[in-house]
């Protein structure tokens, strides 16, 4: 994935909110992926689970949220952190 690409992370107060949101998005055929919340945007939030959204799906996500009103904490943009050839492991 390109480094200059912006990813969006939906943050939650607990993972059950996140799972419900993913179920909802899946029902609307909107792509999302469960991801560990990047440390840079987690702040004091306890939940480490987030949903990773691609920019092209953001508008649909917002429409779905406005319509179904699921619980979530925030949606945060972040330059793409994913670099498969970084060769840095845990």
């Amino acid at each position: 994935m390109e480094e200059d690409r912006i990813n969006y992370y939906i943050l939650f107060e607990d993972y059950t909110q996140g799972l419900l949101m993913q179920e909802l998005l899946r029902g609307e055929q909107i792509k999302s992926r469960i991801a560990p919340t990047p440390h840079a945007i987690q702040g004091s939030l306890g939940c480490g689970m987030s949903l990773l959204i691609q920019p092209e799906d953001l508008a649909a996500v917002k429409r779905c949220i406005a319509c179904k009103k699921p619980e979530y904490y925030d949606i945060v943009p972040l330059p793409c952190q994913i670099q498969p050839n970084r060769n840095q492991f845990c």
Partner: protein, 423 residues
Amino acid sequence: MANYAEMWKDLGMDLASHDALCQVLPTAFGDVYLSQENRPQGMGFWDLVVADIHGIRPSELIEEQKKGRKVFGTFCVYVPDEVIIAADGIVTGLCGGSQFWVPDGEKVLPKSTCPLIKASVGARLGRTCPFFRIADLYVGETTCDGKKKAWEILGGDVPMHIMDMPQMKRPQDMRKWTDEIREFAMVVEKVTGNAITPEKLNGAIHIINEKRRALARVYETRKAKAIPISGKDALLVMQIAFFDDPVRCAQMANKLADELEQRVKDGVSVFPAGTKRILVTGTPMAIPNWKLHHIIETSGAAVVCEETCTGTRYFEHFVDETKTTLDEQYEAIAQRYMNIHCACFTPNTERVDDILRLAKGYQVDGVIDVNLKFCCLYDTEGYTVEKALKEAGIPVLGIETDYTDADAEQLRTRIEAFVEMLG
């Protein structure tokens, strides 16, 4: 709102150091896992587990401890989960797979100890892993010299029980291992305060067999020409299996297997047609050690099977469920576990047989024999393994590595050359 920081504090963890680990995990997971396309939808469960790996499962364990249940931390696939579950205990794996924990291990262990042992000891003594804080009793075993000495050090910090593994597989060794399991059962009964009955043990045997069947179903799909799941994802499923509730593990693995079987029927592959198929054999890859699989799968090949403790050794063979007395059941358990072919045994020709069988069954183009640095057992056995593979006409690459990033580029160069050589 999830407040795991409070839980970690109550567990006596070093929050500042732990925070440093929490910073690197999402990045590594993103690079290794979220960079993949067309992953099975079922992997969402394992992504969730990793996203809150030090939160969700540890908090479940603590809730169970509040009800009086005991948690047993184990380090090896020879420790029989069935015995613990029969006494209403909970099993959690404790093997350390991160370089993050190694420096704390090296404070008390020689540098020339394998990284898995150093990381495991470091995770406990550095107070940076909740699982190592939660376990009421650690269960060690005598599968190598490094572990035997490490248990003495850990035993100064946490209650430990050691199971004495036989080194050979003669009838008297089988009897010895049966006795060892019987003695372990008495320890488990004492710790939990619950008696193990034949009925309870049979129930536990069934639970663990079901888990093995589910994991075997996932693996079976990897034999297909169209590979429905990456080696990295399969590895993650196995790594989490050591930590998760066994019934849930079986449910989720079966759900994933349903999806993978459908993918096989539909000819859906996560790799381009013609991608070279690799069997990885050797030392275990404890979570979050994803290094070698990631390098292989970003070097033009696919890992289709692992003959490791975090692979087929974990789920192959079942315990006989027809036995009705504890003595018969302990013997049946011993027989199943002695069917795991670790390099700690001599002779260990069955492991070579396993590797050749798996190479054929999974239609591999080549084998990568991996050895964690300073594991002299697997390192030495590598000679026999590689000789047998060459005699069978199967290309093999021997690799020694650890948890650091330092050799990643060098490994990539060697693996790319190996894959190219496969044609």
